[in-house]
Structure formats: C-alpha cells, structure tokens
C-alpha cells in the first residue's frame, strides 16, 4: 500500500459536515487569535524577567503589570487554542492523529506544561502583588512559567512538524528488528528556524501589547505619564526589533522548507512578507509618539499575523499535497442545521461578548475607588440572548425528541 493511498484512506469515513474551506478559514482565524495570546504570554514573561533585572523602578512596575496580564491572557489563550485544535482534526485528521499517537507521551506532557505555566504565572503575579509597585521582584515562578511555556511551545511545534512529514512515519515507528514501536516517547521533526520564528514573534507582539497598554491607561489620573511613556517607548522598540528578528528567523524557516514545494513564490507568502514590511515601516515611523498610534499599530499587527497564519496554512497544504492529500477532496455530508446552529451562536456570542468587554474596558480606564455605571440595557440584552438561545434549542430538541420517539 502506498503512502498517498494510506493517508487518504485514513480520512474519517463520516466525511465533513460542511465545505472544508470554511473549516480552514475558521482554523486560520482562531489560530491567529490564539497565537497572538500565546505570544503575549511568552514575550510578557521574558520581558518582565528582563525588566525586573535591569529596568529600574518603572521597569519593575511594568514587570508586575505583565505578570498579571500573563495569567489572564494564558487562560484566554487556552480557550482560544481549543478552536484550531478542533478544526485541524476535521480537515487534517490523518496527520494530526498520527503525530499525536506517535508521540503520545509528549502530547500528554503538553498538558502538564500548560498547567505548570498557568500556576507558576499565578505564583509570580500573586507573589509580587502586595507592597511597593516599584520594588524588587521575586522571580522564581517567572522562570518556571517561562520554562514551562517554552516546553509547551516546543511540544506543539514537534507534533505539528511530525504531522507534516508522513514519509518518515514508517521509519520512525518501526524499530531495527521490524517491530512496531508503541511507547509514544520519541519525538521528531524539530525545525529550529520555524520554532525560533514563533519565539521572536513573541517580542514583536508583546511590544505592541505594551504600546496598547500605554494608550489604554493614559486617561487614568493615577497612572504616571512618565511611567506610561516609558512603557510605550520600550514597547515600540521591542516591537520593532522583535519584528526584525522574527523576519530574520522567518527567512531561516523559509530555507528549511523543501524547495520542491515552491512555497517561496506563493502569492500568500509574498503577501505576508509585504505585510511585515509595512508593519516594520509603520513602527519605525511611530517611534516618537507610539501610544498615539496604538490602534493602527495593533490593526496592522493583527493583519500581518493573520496573513502569516494563512501562509503557514498554504505551506501545510503544500506539504500534504506532495502526498496527494487535499482537504478539498474530503467527502461532504452536508449538515445545514448544525452549521446554522454554529454560525447563529457565533454571532450571538459576539453580541453577548460586548457586555463583559464594555465592563472591562470602562473599569480599567477608571481609577480605583470610583464606581462605573454600565447602561442597564447592555447587560439585560446579553442575558436575554442567552436565555433565548436555550429556549430555541430546547424547543427544537423537544420537537425532535417527540418526533423520534425518544421522549417521553
């Protein structure tokens, strides 16, 4: 049996419930959001360690701010990560399941790293919360959190790379005597350029986060303008050099990609390079007053990361395309009902989300001690929508249950 036949035969016999391109789009979109959050956690921990060492009083205050952010953003990153994890299993199941089972112990350890990173980040934040905001910091938990994040990143990187190299699987899994290896302990496929690229991008993204931070807190009277200026200045520099380093490692990564895939001449890849160039130029141009350019910088960053993520997806299509695998060849078993359920819920979710976001945005900009008033209707609407969702779905469920005879 040849490899292409094997891979295509591994597709799930149930097919997919909607057009693969939609899953692909959602995968890239949610991956973008996920990786941006991961970048802020990794970059934020690294920068707060650095600032605690060398940053002076403002740096130490910044380190505390980043510590708190890392706890919240890591939990957001975890939730966001679920979505691309789901969608990759829909359209690339043969690859994802093979790499995970092959390195099962690592897939399990990944959870340990994430858990450790979260609690260590919390330890870092809570351990430095009380007392002087400008004082020295205890860094032990910061090191642990950073190390655990790095391990988690390396693990997912390897699982992804293994998935892209199916022609190696047989060799990796059959030992010298010809027996099947079943320990799940080995891992393969590290590509240093690619790994470092994600790491460097963390600085770029965290730099932008810092600019945004300075902009966001600027209306608050209890926030010293000098401190915010310090954060913005640091942020723009880190973003700029981080992006340049990410670009350099990006070319290293591009060098690792087999030439036969013809990736470097792909329009989406070229577009991603263009986006990065525009982003760099804009950053360089905003150096004097970064906080005032916070919004366009953030938008440009998100566009860049999105196009990059699309380029990464194109690369994956090329890798698997070499083995005659195409997501577009997936058997369709259209399920309009459940597709509608998701998209309707998605829109509803965005509307509901406005309520907590508004609360957070307003309180964050108000000095402690003052009470913020949120328009009554916003919260009511959110809850009415949630209850409405349940009524509609439960109603549907009851009708179907009676029709199918599963009730009473």
């Amino acid at each position: 049996m040849d490899l292409a036949q094997f891979l295509n035969g591994m597709r799930d016999p149930s097919g997919v419930p909607f057009f693969p391109v939609v899953f692909q789009f959602l995968m890239v979109l949610t991956f973008t959001l996920h990786i941006v959050c991961v970048n802020v956690v990794v970059g934020g921990l690294a920068i707060s360690i650095w600032e605690a060492w060398k940053g002076g009083p403002y740096g130490r205050r910044l380190a505390r701010g980043l510590a708190k952010a890392s706890t919240i953003i890591l939990s957001v990153a975890i939730v966001l990560g679920v979505a691309p994890l789901l969608f990759v299993q829909v359209i690339y199941d043969p690859f994802w399941y093979a790499s995970n089972t092959m390195s099962a112990i690592w897939a399990m350890l990944f959870l340990v790293w994430v858990c450790t990173a979260f609690y260590a980040a919390y330890g870092f934040y809570l351990g430095n919360k009380k007392g002087d905001a400008y004082g020295e910091l205890k860094l032990f938990w910061a090191y642990v959190a950073f190390g655990a994040m790095a391990l988690a990143g390396i693990t997912i990187h390897t699982l992804t790379m293994e998935a892209l190299l199916p022609d190696m699987w047989h060799k990796w899994l059959i030992d010298g005597n010809g027996a099947l290896l079943t320990g799940g302990a080995r891992f393969h496929g590290m590509a240093l350029g690619r790994l470092l690229h994600f790491f460097m991008a963390s600085f770029a993204v965290t730099g932008v986060y810092m600019i945004l931070y300075a902009w966001y807190f600027s209306p608050r009277p209890d926030m010293e303008p000098e401190y915010l200026a310090y954060v913005a200045k640091k942020g723009v520099n880190i973003a700029l050099y981080g992006t340049l380093l990410a670009a350099a490692t990006g070319f290293w990564w591009a060098g690792e990609v087999p030439e036969s895939l013809g990736f470097l001449s792909n329009p989406v890849f070229l577009l991603s390079v263009l986006a990065a160039v525009i982003f760099i130029l804009y950053l360089a141009n905003s150096q004097n007053d970064p906080a005032n350019h916070a919004i366009p910088i953030t938008v440009l960053l998100l566009i860049t990361v999105f196009v990059m993520s699309y380029a990464r997806e194109i690369l994956r299509m090329k890798y698997v395309g070499a083995f005659d695998y195409s997501i577009f060849a997936y058997k369709l078993n259209l399920s309009w009902g459940s597709t509608l359920l998701f998209f309707a819920t998605f829109v509803l979710g965005l509307v509901v989300l406005y309520f907590p976001l508004l609360c957070a945005f307003k309180t964050g900009r108000t000095e402690p001690g003052k009470v913020v008033v949120i328009p009554e209707k916003v919260g009511s609407l959110a809850n009415i929508l949630l209850v409405g969702w349940f009524i509609v779905v439960a109603g549907l469920g009851i009708i179907i249950s009676f029709k199918n005879g599963t009730l009473p």
Binding site: G15, V90, D93, G184, G349, S401
Partner: protein, 443 residues
C-alpha cells in the same frame, strides 16, 4: 490504523479515565457554583446587604483559579488523551459533532470573559450590572453543559442517528434529557457543598451560617432531584445495556452503581445534618471529605456510563477497538468488520507492509500489531496486567495454543461486551501465533 500507544498494565483508556475524573469535579463546580453565587448576590443587591460581598469575592477567586482553569485544562486533556488512546473514536465524534463543539466553544469564550470581568469588577461597577455578569456566566457555563451532554449521550445511545446520520437525531437521543437533568441537579449539589466550605470559613459567623443553611437547601434539592432523574435515566437505557449491567454480563457495572448510590446518600445526610440541623458544625475538613465522597460517587457514575456502552465506543457505530461495526448508508459509511472479514486486515495494515508473512518471526510481529489494534484498547498484555490482562483471560477460558486462540476468535462476537473479530483466517492465525507467545497466566 494510526500508530498505537501502548500503556503497560492499564491500557491507554485508563489515562482518559484518570484525566476525566479530575475534570468532573471542577467542571461541574464551575458550571453550578455561579447559580448559587448569583442567588446570593441578588440577596445582596435587592436587600442591600453589603456583608454578603465578602463571600462572593472568596467564592469567585477559588472558582476562577481552581475550577475554571483546571476544568478547562483537563477538558482539553480529555480530548488529547482520547486522541492518543482512541484517535478513530474521537475522529468519528468530531466529524459528526464538530459544529456542536464549535458552538460549545463560543460559550467557553463567553465564560472566560465573564468570569474574569466579574471577578475584577467586583465593587467597581454598578451592582445591577455586576449581578448580570454573574448571571451571564452562570447561563453560558450551563449552556456548555447543555451541549456537551448531547455529545456524551450520543456515545452511549446514538438514537435515530444510525438511520439518518442527522446531527440533531443523535444529539437529542433517548438519554439526552434524563442526563441533562441529572447533571443539572448534580451541579447544584456540588455547588452546595463547595459553598458550605467557603461560608464556614467566613469571619462573620452569623452570615456564614445563614449561607451554609441556604447552600444546604440547594444541595438537598439537587440531590433529591438528581436521584429521581437518575432513575429515569436508568429506565431509558437500551435493553441490551440493562441486560449487561444487571443480569450477568459485566457485574462490575452494578457495583459501580451501588458505590454511586452510597456516595449519594452520604452527601444527602451531610446536607441534612451539617447544613440544616447544625450549621455551626460545618467546616472545611468535613466539607472536603464530602467533596471526596461525591467525587468517588460521580466517578463511579461516569464509569458506569462509559462501561455500559461496551462493546462500542460510539454506540452501535464504532467498536471499542475503533473498527466501524456497521453500514450507515445515510453518511455513505461502510462496515469495516465486513470489509476486513472479506479482505483481511493484515493486508491493509500500512505498518506491516515491510513484513514477510512467510517468515515465522515476521508473522509474530504482524500478530502483535493485530493484537494491539484489535484487543489493545480494552486489554493489557502483561500477565500481571491490571486491566483485563489477556494472558490470564486466555488461560481462564483455556485457550493457550496458537490454533485454539485462532479458533477462539470466532467466538468473540458471542460475548455481549466484545466486538466480533474483524479479519479473515490468515489474521486469526497470526493473532493466535502471537498471543500464544505471551506468558501463560493460568494458575
């Protein structure tokens, strides 16, 4: 077939069970606790009782750091462990229920947004809006349960789906509603215990005891309704499952149910004694012991649910060894058992392509692969294995020689809890030759 991950002694399935048991408590707590929270906060707002806010803040921080995060990491953990233990099983679920999970994910996101904002805006936004944030979290969390219950239920009873292949036909299957009601009651019970622990540690004793009492009423209601709905659930189980659980077959299932019932009863007593009669006696230690009791009880209940779907991993559709059991014409799915019985499975094994089946040692290697893929999900291969060790079981039924084992494969399908053998005569010979090399487990 995907690569196989072998976990010595206990099988990879136990890894799922292990992670899942750490998921149950925090996830039910993260779902249930905020209903109680919202109830207390409503008291605080409507009757203007600021002293209750102290409770809210403590309660929320613990839920946030402990339940929410552990709940979400172990939730992802169940997924990852299912991926490495039963990749084709999780794939089957995902390809049918991807939009269900994606919909649930929207609510996950709302949960995380509302719980963080709720915690960090306590006392910083107007009271009405804050209360609404709490309610929004409670609703979103509960809706995520409304969704996952459909997918979990589908694995045990796939309903009309087997005929229609329809998403909602499998989702609203015969155990959906009872299970949703059981879980909902249970989450209120768990929230009750948790609230008694937090409240008993409050500085203001009078307020603490008042909350303990209220929480116990919630708890009692949860437990009583939970029991009623559990009976409904058991009643709704398919006959074949009832047979297997209550009349021979797999007697351990009945034991699990008894364990769950006893745990249930103890928790109910706790609420009555420590909650209503002597609230001043409620404390952290008793609370935690009771949480543990409940943990064991729920674990037993989930163990029952998981065990009762044997020999399937997805009811009627996919066997525990991840082989598709029947045609589902609506989805264009063909039975793999039939296919492999006709064509042979070794021939279709990519991992065995290098083996030369005329050589004795290669035959053993092929046989080992078959044993892993066809039995390894449910059986360990060591003599001293903990989970259904094949050497001892084979000796127990008295088939120890290669030909006997090969012959025994024809009988597998006669057991109510085992899949039929999906292979031809060559496959039976190969698996027999390999299994005969295992150490003998007889007395």
């Amino acid at each position: 077939m995907y690569p196989f991950w072998e976990v010595p002694l206990v099988t990879s399935g136990m890894i799922i069970a292990f992670i899942a048991s750490f998921h149950i408590l925090p996830s039910h707590l993260a779902t249930g606790a905020f209903w109680f929270n919202a109830y207390i906060e409503r008291e605080a707002v409507k009757k203007d009782r600021p002293e209750l806010y102290d409770f809210l803040s403590r309660f929320t921080l613990l839920i946030l750091i402990f339940c929410f995060v552990i709940g979400s990491i172990t939730g992802v953990g169940i997924w990852f462990s299912a991926t490495v233990a039963s990749p084709r099983g999780i794939s089957g679920l995902i390809h049918n229920y991807v939009w269900g999970w994606a919909t649930e994910w929207v609510f996950f996101f709302l949960e995380i947004a509302t719980i963080y904002v709720y915690y960090y805006t306590l006392g910083r936004i107007d009271k009405e809006s804050h209360l609404k944030l709490g309610v929004a979290y409670a609703l979103a969390a509960w809706i995520s349960m409304v969704i996952i219950t459909g997918i979990l239920g589908f694995m045990l009873t796939s309903g009309k789906w087997i005929e229609t292949g329809g998403f909602f036909d499998g989702f609203f299957n015969q155990t959906y509603w009872p299970q949703l009601f059981v879980r909902t009651s249970m989450m209120l019970g768990i929230a009750g215990i948790y609230a008694t622990i937090v409240a008993s540690r409050m500085k203001n004793k009078a307020v603490g005891q008042e909350i303990v009492r209220k929480a116990s009423l919630w708890g009692i209601a949860g437990m009583v309704f939970g029991a009623i709905f559990t009976l409904w659930y058991l009643f709704k189980l398919p006959e074949s499952v009832k047979d297997m659980a209550f009349h021979g077959g797999l007697p351990y299932l009945k034991t699990l149910l008894c364990v769950a019932a006893i745990a249930y009863f103890i928790v109910l007593l706790y609420f009555i004694i420590f909650g209503l009669i002597r609230p001043q006696m409620a404390g952290t230690v008793t609370g935690i012991i009771i949480l543990l009791v409940l943990f064991i009880g729920i674990g037993a209940g989930e163990g029952f649910r998981e065990g009762a779907r044997r020999p399937y991993i997805i009811s009627q559709y996919m066997y525990g060894n991840q082989i598709i059991a029947r045609d589902v014409p609506a989805l264009g799915v063909k039975s793999e058992v039939a296919k492999y019985q006709e064509k042979g499975i070794t021939k279709s094994l990519y991992w065995a392509k290098h083996l030369d089946l005329d050589r004795a040692e290669d035959r053993i290697k092929a046989g080992r692969m078959l044993a892993l893929f066809l039995c390894g999900n449910c059986h360990s291969f060591e003599v001293n294995g903990i989970i259904r060790p094949l050497p001892s079981l084979l000796s127990r039924v008295g088939v120890e020689e290669a030909e006997d084992i090969a012959g025994f494969m024809d009988a597998l399908g006669d057991y109510p809890y085992m899949p039929e053998f999906p292979g031809n005569d060559l496959d039976k010979e190969l698996i027999g030759e390999y299994l005969a090399t295992l150490p003998k487990g007889g007395e």
